[in-house]
Assembly symmetry: C2
């Protein structure tokens, strides 16, 4: 069975935690142990792990902004490449240690990944993807004035910088990723949704949504299942209201209807739901949306939202 | 023929140029075009490209230092991982564009690479590897007082931060790199000398010399030739004196004698000479030390220092 596991939210950093290296390091270990306990490294699973970089690329951006008197600021695509480096390193280091400790003989590869987007994508002209930490309103407005970048309120949780998030069209190294997972290699790729490039491999200053990129990769490598790991065990309707109710099994037609009704917050659950719909519509068999802690229960069908054709 | 090409010095940024993204981008393109003209992408060549990160990891360190009130500082090994990300991305983007433009059907892979070192390596207790930009004496002393890191005068060219540079013992993903180049994939790996880790894949705060790591990789994948690309077309004896003379063909015994006589500057030509000796002593056939502009002439044996058994 071929699976893509997209790590996001609390897989690398739990709500309220700081941006310390050690925070990422410990959370990555916990998440990968959850994958191990869920049976994801068993010989019958061909596995690609992808990850987000919203808070991290925001931090890189701020580091560049705050040191711009001393060093040139780098474009957003290069900053996503940076986060592919250090987050990928953390994941590969834990994967190798974990597999060796369990006597599982599998090679691990972390691949820098570019993803093709269109320079004509309208999303580039109307920034919507939040990056970096939540700020209060006054700090957000000050930063926006200083950087010229827009800020937006995000799902009632505070204010964040927003950047353009174009639709991913092609994972450039998908054929290579596929060869490697077919050979049993555990692959880490498409970090931060991939580095956005145009048809000439020239960088596009934007951040691709990692769930959409993971869904695309899933279709390109003909994965059976896409796992989208997030902070909560289920997708909910009427989330954060007294009528909140978890979705268990849901077909894409019903899911589209619920999406139209506005149940899923933009910049939060909405992109995951859209990625799930994309993957199933493109021919995928199943999408599982849950939190890393419940992977074992999800494998038994007890916890998690299962999106089906 | 299997070759390792180690890019350093002016391959990514020429003397006197700034640290702009565009500087790295344009220099990388020029260097890879030089490789193309030198015939390095011909079907009979199995190719790994490695690169240094001295100035770049120094910049990352300074960005973290200068923003430490706002974000936590990350360890040096994570900063090398970052540079593997963005420098690797620049190289892969150009490689893909160049190969496609020339109608050469070869896949490209940029692999995050850890390199095992020993925590008992005495080099960790006596920092010697310069990173970052050259500074004048007063700026260097001020920075050293602020960061607690040592600074040293480097080859008469100014002052730099120095960090521990342990001996590379094992390129963790060498077997994978070898499988990929055997299959015709052009591989970018071991950036910045690799991310230093101990036997448990836990990061070691240091920077490995990229030429030594490239020599080790060359032996591990049984490369025939190691190319060390630098700022000057030859290795010289009596460098920067009226008696300066280029070395053309030199055996490792003679090279060792010249090294003992102090012809090669620490932190500059010395690590390249030592890497060359390591590679030949370990069984490699030839090391070529030259600048990227002369690769075509080097392939004809006209320019470059050739280190032989």
């Amino acid at each position: 069975m071929k699976v893509v596991v997209a790590l996001g939210g609390n897989a690398l950093r739990r709500k309220g935690e700081g941006m310390d290296y050690e925070v990422h390091y410990e959370n990555a270990r916990r998440t990968l142990e959850n994958l191990l306990e869920g049976g994801f490294f068993s010989p019958n699973k061909k596995l690609v792990i992808t990850h987000g970089n919203g808070p991290q690329v925001g931090m890189e951006f701020m580091r560049h902004f705050l040191t711009k008197e001393r060093f040139p600021m780098y474009p957003l695509h290069a900053l996503t490449a940076s986060t592919q480096g250090w987050i990928g390193y953390i994941l590969e280091a834990h994967l190798r240690a974990l597999l060796r400790n369990k006597g599982i003989e599998r090679e691990v590869a972390t691949l820098l990944t570019m993803v093709r987007v269109s320079r004509d994508d309208p999303a580039l002209r109307s920034p919507s993807k939040p990056i970096g930490d939540f700020m209060d309103r006054s700090e957000a407005l000050e930063l926006s004035i200083l950087t010229g970048l827009p800020v937006k309120e995000d799902a009632g949780r505070g204010w964040r910088l927003v950047v353009g998030s174009p639709r991913p069209l092609e994972v450039i190294n998908a054929p290579l990723i596929n060869s490697l997972i077919e050979a049993g290699v555990v692959v880490v790729a498409v970090g931060g949704g991939g580095i956005p490039v145009d048809e000439k491999f020239s960088g596009v200053p934007a951040v691709i949504d990692k769930d959409r990129a993971s869904a695309l990769l899933g279709l390109e490598v003909r994965a059976d299942v896409l796992y989208i790991l997030t902070q909560i065990p289920f997708v909910y309707i009427n989330y954060n209201t007294p009528k909140q109710k978890p979705l268990r099994e849901v077909g894409i037609h019903e899911l589209e209807r619920l999406k139209e009704e506005g149940h899923f917050a933009p910049g939060s659950m909405l992109p995951k739901v859209e990625a799930a719909i994309d993957f199933i519509r493109g021919g995928g068999k199943k999408v599982v949306i849950t939190s890393p802690e419940y992977l074992r229960e999800a494998e038994r069908g007890e916890v998690g939202t299962f999106v089906l054709p």
